[in-house]
Amino acid sequence: MTSESFDNLILELRRGVIVLAVLSQLGEEQYGYSLMKLLSDQGLVVDQGTLYPLLRRLESQGLLQSDWRIETDRPRRYYLLSDEGRELLPRLKEEWSSIVAMLKTMLA
């Protein structure tokens, strides 16, 4: 297997966790760039080409809410979990825990 194929597999693995990671960090308001930095500081590097379309999609699905704010000299769009998103997040976390437990058994 080539290095590129391996990298693609890693990318696929990481793609599977991005939605949960993003939702877990939006209990408090974040704007797009700050969210990207927050995720990166915790080890999950998400490029802007993935993050911003994802944020819009999650908003269109009703899991996030957003609003524009003018701060200093430029407008920024702030995202926050919606009521539906807050309701869904614990269930996603639970599902994730069971997946991790299952994989731990399989990989042991």
Binding site: Y31, G32, Y33, Q48, G49, T50, Y52, P53, R56, W68, R74, P75, R76, R77
Partner: protein
């Protein structure tokens, strides 16, 4: 207009109009955040070089715009299987008709290099036209479904139908050859070859004139000019029937070979239809051979001619139906079969 504005404007050209302004504003905001951070890290003010670096990292405008849109298809995965099936059917029918047309043209006007090249060019043109029309129609259907908001998102394949394993019992074994039909074909082909080549004089009537038996042939010399071609087709048909009987099943090659033979028969039939004087049953011949008067003999000539044309037309239609059956079997697998006895 600075670089950022130009970049955002370029991205906006590829975005859906409804959300373009909002997305452009967000991208502009992100880029400004990125530039600010890089400027602070580099300890220098924002300049063109820094801006180029950030824009390169952000990505090409069309790629960025594409990430905001769902995948777009000319013909999506839901319609594609249907498109494939329709395309196969249409190309096969067009191809068959085009080849038949070429055969009729060559048979009527004679074989020439120019005629063959023109015919092949016509076939290729027909294929391309058919392909383009089918693609266009399905692209329009895809666009209509998407614009009306189809009941399932374009990224997902349609939900599988409830599959019943009992449907496996209805799947037929490979296309078995009907032995009786093949043998009957061989017998009739052989009889026709012998009759038309060795005993053509017996195809007619015998009549007694002045105490002497005379022959009244049905077919004229013009008809017998086609016999070598018909004989060739019949010989090939016998060979095909023998091969098919030995194999026990129809295969793609044998089906296509049979289609070719039937196509050739249709071509010859079409030329014969347009060739006058194939029958020897003329008013003059009838008057010479019998006590019929001119009006009656003329009527009988017309009846014989119309009857002959009708028989040729029926033969052509039957051959077309057989070709259609072959194409159907090859393209659409939906045959009936005797059910298996699951209890053994």
């Amino acid at each position: 207009m600075n670089l950022i504005d130009t970049y955002v404007s370029e991205v906006g050209k590829h975005l859906p109009k409804k959300s373009a302004a909002d997305i452009e504003a967000e991208i502009r905001s992100v880029l400004q955040d990125m530039l600010e951070e890089r400027s602070q890290a580099a300890g220098k003010p924002v300049d063109d070089e820094l801006t180029f670096e950030v824009l390169k990292e952000y990505g090409a405008p069309d790629k960025v715009a594409a990430s905001y849109q769902s995948q777009r298809y000319l013909i999506g995965p839901q319609l594609f299987p249907t498109f494939q099936m329709v395309l196969k059917i249409v190309l096969s029918v067009f191809g068959t008709l085009a080849i038949l047309g070429l055969g009729i043209q060559l048979a009527r006007y004679g074989v020439s290099v120019d005629g063959i090249f023109q015919g092949i060019a016509g076939i290729i043109s027909a294929f391309i036209t058919a392909l383009g029309n089918v693609v266009l129609i399905f692209a329009i259907i895809e666009w209509v479904l998407r614009s009306k908001g189809s009941t399932f998102p374009s990224q997902e394949l349609p939900a599988e139908k409830q599959w019943d394993p009992r449907s496996l019992l209805k799947i037929s074994p490979p296309d078995r050859v009907k032995i009786g039909e093949r043998i009957a074909d061989i017998v009739f082909d052989s009889a026709a070859i012998v009759l038309f080549n060795f005993y053509p004089h017996i195809i007619g009537f015998n009549y007694l004139q002045e105490g002497v038996w005379k022959d009244f042939p049905v077919f004229s010399e013009a008809f017998f000019a086609f016999i070598p071609w018909l004989t060739l087709i019949l010989v090939l048909d016998i060979g095909l029937n023998i091969a098919v009987l030995r194999q026990g099943n129809w295969k793609s090659f044998t089906r296509w070979f049979d289609i070719g033979l039937r196509g050739a028969m249709i071509s010859i039939g079409a030329v014969m239809l347009s060739t006058p004087g194939l029958l020897a049953i003329t008013a003059d011949a009838l008057i010479t051979a019998s006590p019929l008067d001119l009006p009656t003999a003329g009527l009988l000539e017309v009846v014989a001619r119309q009857g002959g044309a009708s028989i040729l037309a029926i033969i052509i239609i039957v051959e077309l139906i057989e070709i259609a059956k072959h194409l159907y079997r090859m393209l659409v697998k939906d045959t009936k079969a005797a059910p298996f006895d699951v209890n053994g």
